[in-house]
Symmetry: C2
Subunit: 300 residues, 2 copies
Amino acid sequence: MDHFADRLVAVIRAKGNPLCVGLDPRWESLPMEIRRRHGDDSLSAMAASYEEFCDRVLEIVAPLVPVVKPQSAFFEACGPDGMAVMQRLLRKARGLGLLTILDAKRNDIASTAAAYADAAFGGVSMAGRVHPVWEADALTVNPYLGRDAVEPFLQSARRAQAGVFVLVRTSNPGAGLFQDLVADGRPVYCHVAEAVAAWARENVGRCGLGDVGAVVGATYPAELAALRKLTPDVIFLVPGYGAQGGAAADVAPAFRPDGLGVVVNSSRGVLFPFKTDDPAWEQRVEEATRATVAALAPLS
Amino acid sequence: MDHFADRLVAVIRAKGNPLCVGLDPRWESLPMEIRRRHGDDSLSAMAASYEEFCDRVLEIVAPLVPVVKPQSAFFEACGPDGMAVMQRLLRKARGLGLLTILDAKRNDIASTAAAYADAAFGGVSMAGRVHPVWEADALTVNPYLGRDAVEPFLQSARRAQAGVFVLVRTSNPGAGLFQDLVADGRPVYCHVAEAVAAWARENVGRCGLGDVGAVVGATYPAELAALRKLTPDVIFLVPGYGAQGGAAADVAPAFRPDGLGVVVNSSRGVLFPFKTDDPAWEQRVEEATRATVAALAPLS
């Protein structure tokens, strides 16, 4: 298997755009026909509805986009059945040639971090055999616990030629509470970005990008530009495109001059462009995906 | 149901000590008899072994300690079957009168954070009914994403009279990479502690403690003392007792003058004080629990 960044660049080039579709299923937004089919009396029913909906979304978007990003929280909210659905969706996405980023924002120390990481990437060892769990191509990780909390994720990712996206600057209104605190003349998120750049340089692919990326919100284009300058060989995962207010021009500063280095995520804008009683909801999802791809294509 | 802090204080007083037993099952440390019974050929077998082991541990420690803390990573590493085991263990612990802290270090923004929080506490709503998922009494949360990322956890916790423990200062050697950066004359973790204190003051129980606690490692007793002064109405969850190097004297500065305000966690020291082929492993767990309780009892 190739280096994570090279695999990412290859699939972005093959599809001609850097769009990542976030799989954030929400019960109240699902097509009525799917909800009716599975009923509304248990979390197993919710999980089954999420599976049918996301299955169809994966089939619709797979020819159009390079990457999907299941949001672990919504599957966890259905309990163990939801986690089983997330596992099958990750497998299905891989089978469709999509790169997968598991958005779980995991974090812990030492062997506990390693347990999360082995589950996300190469699998869990028992009695000399390795058992896959999520088999994601990449995982989002929260850096607050520091160096030896992030490193187990890197080690596990590298064994599986996978990637890690570290939260650097998030797009929510209250993100600045700690991320913007100024230490040694620059905000905390720049310190995190510097650490990410150092980790990324440890293992750079042929494309010139490392296997450690940064999650950077699209709501602050000036910050995106500054971070791009600070970390030229780091892949940016930019959420907040579409629904959270970002537009193509806002994302532009994240790209390197060679048009690489960015994955742009859209969740609600692509997943839920329909009214729940619209019998043509699948067509709406395809149209929304094509429109989002078209808006982004000139950038990459 | 009573305020989280009052419930915590009541169960600590009833047991006469503030020990929390961390449920961190590790395959290679389990009693051989349990591993043999379930086999070693699948993650379902691993999950079944974890369940049998933790079931017995819960029965052994329930008469002795007030709190248990399942570590989500080890159950997630067994896949969806592991999450089902974690769910059953949380239920069993509650049935035994133990307070439960789900150690999952969750974090995300807005409705995504709310999905994690509803799963952890009161349950997930569908069609006018609420379905419980983890039903924990408290959850650990990572603060890096800021104000509006922590607040959905608080709102959900408060609806369920549950608690939130925010990571403030962790006990790992590399914790300082971002936590110790100095902004406005004090380290980042003190800024986090101040935010935690403000959140805790929003909802204080009769005992004078809030429903928002702080995770503070026991490896830096001077920091513990300073943080206790800074945040008098915040409950501290102190991991790193025993295996990670902390001793009773190191934990002492975390306590308020009234002997309250602390939950001291021990995982490996209590869970795995035996050789895997020791037929009397249950007795060893009980002895280790009693010894740890005895060392802590004078503090509270």
